[in-house]
Amino acid sequence: MATEKELSDFLKSVEKRAWKRAVYAVRDEDAALDIVQDTMIRLAEKYADRPVAELPLLFQRILSNATMDWFRRQKVKTQVVRNFSEYEGPGEDSEFDILETLEALGGPLQSESAAESVSRAQILQTIEAEVALLPARQREAFLLRYWEELDVAETAASMGCSEGSVKTHCSRAVHALAKALKAKGITS
């Protein structure tokens, strides 16, 4: 059973990322804050007696549910559920996009058009905007897998889909991001 301090530390470690994820999903900072608070309270009320190792997965699942609840309340659920088939898989040039953009993210920052004038903050803002623009399922898979650092099986369990779907969503998200960031001039 997680102690109060363990629970507090856990919530502290995830709250900012959770808020960001909620913002990407609902695009409303106050609503995102409500969703995160609701998630934390639900976790604390129902699962405070669980071992601390189980909390991350539970938290992610509750956050997803709380976000869906928000959409239901807003009666705009149809905006979330998109036809994923319209998002094509990686083409032949996608690998090249990723490698080019990867250099920009990890190494010295450059921009195609505005070169040295693009600040780190602006690049971060652009990346966040592009992440927010990803289809909901792709974004969720991508963030759970690489930001929350869940493994494929845990991500699949949290999203209620197969491991294959998680891999597909992640791959498509990566290629879509690489393409979008390249289009915004974030390349090596």
Partner: protein, 143 residues
């Protein structure tokens, strides 16, 4: 051989994707760490509310009596607390039943003593139905 090449290419592609994804995630973390103090404070408030909810769920309840004294209870033993609060009522009802029982027995005992005295006396019981004898009993004994 072709299969090996393909597997190798797939593995390399996955590794590149993972590297890119982690680089993006690092940027997102960097951005998340730069939240405004106001937002951080609101998140802290939400966290504290959640911890309070956890305390309630675990059963630690803090109440205040009319006199202002704090009462700390433990939820898992709240069943016992309810039982303890019912016990005085049970004791009161039990006591009332016992008092009623004792009074009934006392009345029966008194009635039995009177019956015993009447039946054991030399005076016939029908004498008490005689108006003349009743009048005689009311008359104070003469000197």
């Amino acid at each position: 051989m072709k299969l090996d090449d393909r597997t190798y290419r797939d593995a390399a592609r996955e590794a590149t994707e993972a590297r890119f994804a982690r680089a993006v995630a690092a940027c997102l973390s960097e951005s998340a760490d730069q939240l405004s103090p106001d937002l951080a404070e609101r998140l802290r408030f939400g966290r504290e509310k959640a911890l309070e909810a956890a305390r309630r769920a675990r059963g630690e309840t803090v109440g205040v009596t009319a006199s202002g004294a704090a009462i700390v209870g433990f939820g898992k033993s709240s069943w016992w607390l309810r039982l303890a609060s019912v016990l005085p009522l049970v004791a009161l009802v039990g006591g009332l039943v016992m008092i009623q029982n004792w009074q009934t027995r006392t009345q029966i005992s008194v009635a039995a003593e009177i019956d015993e005295a009447l039946l054991g006396d030399d005076l016939p019981i029908n004498a008490y139905r005689d108006p003349g004898f009743a009048e005689f009993l009311k008359t104070p004994p003469s000197e």
